[in-house]
Symmetry: C2
């Protein structure tokens, strides 16, 4: 008799696991049922800002694979609008509610993939029924926001709360739609994912397209008129708003897992081993925004909700489920984003992370260009490196530039992944041609500067964490 | 008394060595004299096609540092238009001829940096006094070609002989200047630096801008009329030409070194250790296009004349000369170029190299896009990986794409540098955002495909070097 796999969550991680398992085990060996509470499977949440801005015309373009494809090509029984309400590990079954038609179903499983994703952080003041307040975590959220933006009266003033990736990307998207945009951020800078010196470059670019950035400002409530939001109340006074977008981050969606007794780690995510098996729960797997990962530099458990990890983790779970062998060794915190023509990349630890992890380090910032200086279209590129001292091992890197900049972080990410020192990096054989780099690549220039800083710090016994 | 350093060759390698030595040893400790037979120091030979095309307006833009800068800021006595004619290692002196004013000078040295560069390959038929036949190795060569192109009568038909990087780049530059261009190449394909399947993509793009590519065609002579070239004679008949550009590659310029008894390796380049000391010749250093390097994948000595290596090697020689410690461990054959809006990158071994080095391998070609498929401006990108079997170690990689493609070879170059397997590579934490990559980065897609090919080859015992 065929075994049964139940998947909770029909987005990247869950469906990657399901389809990889299917590749290795056919229906006579493994039946697969996937529950998804929303209306869509396997979509690009990262693409939402570009659909909101209008740059991507059609929402369906964001859907990589729809339920019919999974059914027809992968023999996976996807049940949309089904919310799993309980997991019974002893009886090996889940209970799911049909959100549209009502009623409950029970499904037996041999293996379970928990891929319930993340839930947006929602402070008390955001828990409201008033119109015009939106998260942008799911495609359903995004649809509601688009309807509001296209509605009557047409919103003119937007407030984005939270200056992380999604907040920054949404602020730009709303400017592109013609709204007047204010970004409110509690911290001293938007883009706290990079160090303050690099974030300052991003803030300047954002202000350049007219975004009013208010940092160090906390939100305390919302005002409304006739059931529609009219202002965001902050500790710096009210900010008028016809629409409010929340970008306050997410936390792992573990309620159901915890209720079933699955272990949650210090980061808040479900604890898994490197094959994506939930620790202490045979036959239960977890992947995606609900799990915690090992940070390979700090060696600490972290929660990094990103589509790229979700896909990899789901694939790894599915290969193992299917009888193969695959591992997800961990993350190093690589991320890229585009802000107002500015390209931003980061990997590894920021200065504050390095300090918090107990590293001594030097950090350097090197100015260079994306192309040979004489080649048309050459634009500035700033590369920051953080290197352990005295070892010289690369701990983190950040890049801000105007074009052809962001993805160069991958070069640094692979160096960091392999534990290279900045001294070793100066020898790297990187591609050179005038349309693509100066003869000393920006990465190599930064590595050389870091070597010099290390030399100085060894000689002069600089203060810990001093800048080169 | 100050010691003396004599540098032979005032381009990237020689001047990098001189300036690094100066950073660590001031004039009272080290006097530095550099002889350069041309009119320029430290220029970008790689930039020549872009000056010929007119994309770079002014030839001086290609000069990174001129002799006055070296004199004033680095206290280096640069003597242009001086050809070194002999090295006497016993007496520790060189003899140089003043090409403009005549006469000889002798300079004593304690240390010598030999950075004489490379000489273009010139078959017998190219050894001619007729007008209109040019190499493009030096800025002086390029100046002569520009004068001819701007001259009267204005050339209309160009023939480029040789389909390597410089030939391909020059062909495009001449098209941009409005000439009708034929590229003649003896081998079966232009861009033999990548495998035939990838080179075919490049050839298609070249034909797309009107370049007449004739492969498998050897040149046997030149025809002239009134002292000006009129045709390139080939074994496939004459090809009319008002100007001929030679791009037949270069060989290490070692005549002077060999005459002095310095060792030359199997690649034709001068043998150096990892600190750029000439083997068996204390106090003599060599760097740049005249040396041979260790290929870190094939473990064979190779001659790879590239500005990026010349700069690194010169820097390493200079640091060591200056009392520091630096090494040049070798090369892995990374190169990028732009051909008619097509971006090409390569690193490591091609299939033929892998076979010649005795590797068993699989190779895969993965089609993907530079951006998320739904993001505006997404263009195709083709990534080829060659991986040892059964180990899975990456041996080589090639990328051809339409934009934001070439420099992604660096990601693969760093993976290869660190001896990663394609299986390990599937876990790499690379940057993802819709403007920069699909959620599965093209590099990761290719790595996954290579893993699958390895799995299949292990199961099915495919023929050696079989394609996945």
């Amino acid at each position: 008799m065929a075994q049964r796999l139940v998947v909770i969550g029909g987005d990247a991680a869950g469906m990657a696991a399901a389809s990889q398992a299917r590749r290795r085990r056919d229906r006579s060996d493994l039946e697969i049922v996937a529950f998804e509470q929303g209306h869509h499977t396997s979509y690009s949440a990262c693409g939402i800002p570009y659909w909101i801005s209008g740059m991507v015309a059609d929402r369906d373009q964001l859907v990589a694979r729809n339920p019919a494809t999974f059914r027809d090509e992968f023999d996976i029984d996807v049940r949309l609008r089904h919310e799993v309400t309980a997991i019974d590990l002893d009886r090996r079954e889940v209970v799911a509610r049909d959100l549209d038609r009502g009623g409950e179903v029970r499904e037996r499983f041999d293996d379970l993939v928990y891929a319930a994703g993340a839930v947006p952080t929602k402070p008390g003041w955001a828990d409201t029924d008033m119109g015009g307040v939106f998260g942008v975590q799911t495609l359903d959220d995004a649809g509601a926001l688009r309807d509001w933006l296209d509605g009557d009266p047409t919103p003119r003033r937007a407030v984005v709360v939270g200056g992380g990736y999604i907040g920054v990307e949404m602020a730009e998207a709303l400017v592109q739609r013609g709204l007047s945009v204010t970004l409110v951020e509690k911290a001293d800078q938007p883009m706290a994912t990079v160090d303050p010196d690099m974030a300052a470059l991003v803030a300047t670019a954002m202000r350049g397209i007219g975004i009013d950035i208010r940092t160090g400002v906390g939100v305390t409530g919302l005002d409304q008129r006739d059931g529609r939001v009219s202002a965001v109340v902050t500790d710096d006074g009210p900010v008028p708003a016809d629409v409010v977008v929340l970008g306050l981050g997410v936390r792992p969606n573990t309620a159901l897992a915890e209720a079933a007794g699955l272990p949650v780690g210090s980061s808040g995510g479900i604890r898994v081993d490197r094959r994506m098996r939930v620790v202490g729960a045979p036959g239960v797997w977890a992947a995606g925004d609900c799990v915690e990962s090992l940070h390979l530099v700090s060696r600490l458990p972290v929660h990094v909700p990103l589509g790229t990890h979700a896909n990899k983790q789901g694939r790894v779970a599915g290969i193992n489920l299917g009888g193969g062998y695959a591992t997800f060794p961990g993350v190093i915190g690589t991320a890229v984003t585009k802000v107002c023509e500015l390209e931003v990349g980061r990997t590894g630890l920021r200065e504050r992370d390095a300090t918090a992890s107990g590293f001594e380090f030097v950090s350097v910032v090197a100015e260079s260009t994306n192309r040979a200086g004489y080649y048309p279209g050459a634009r500035p590129m700033t590369v920051k490196l953080i290197a352990e001292r005295p070892s010289g091992r690369l701990l983190g890197a950040q890049i801000v530039g105007w074009s052809e900049a962001a993805k160069r972080i991958d070069t640094l990410a692979v160096a960091l992944w392999n534990g290279m020192t900045v001294d070793e990096m100066t020898s790297l054989d990187l591609g050179y041609a005038p349309p693509y780099a100066p003869v000393w690549d920006p990465v190599l220039i930064a590595a050389r500067k870091a070597v010099d800083a290390l030399d100085r710090s060894r000689g002069q016994n600089e203060p810990v964490g001093g800048r080169g």
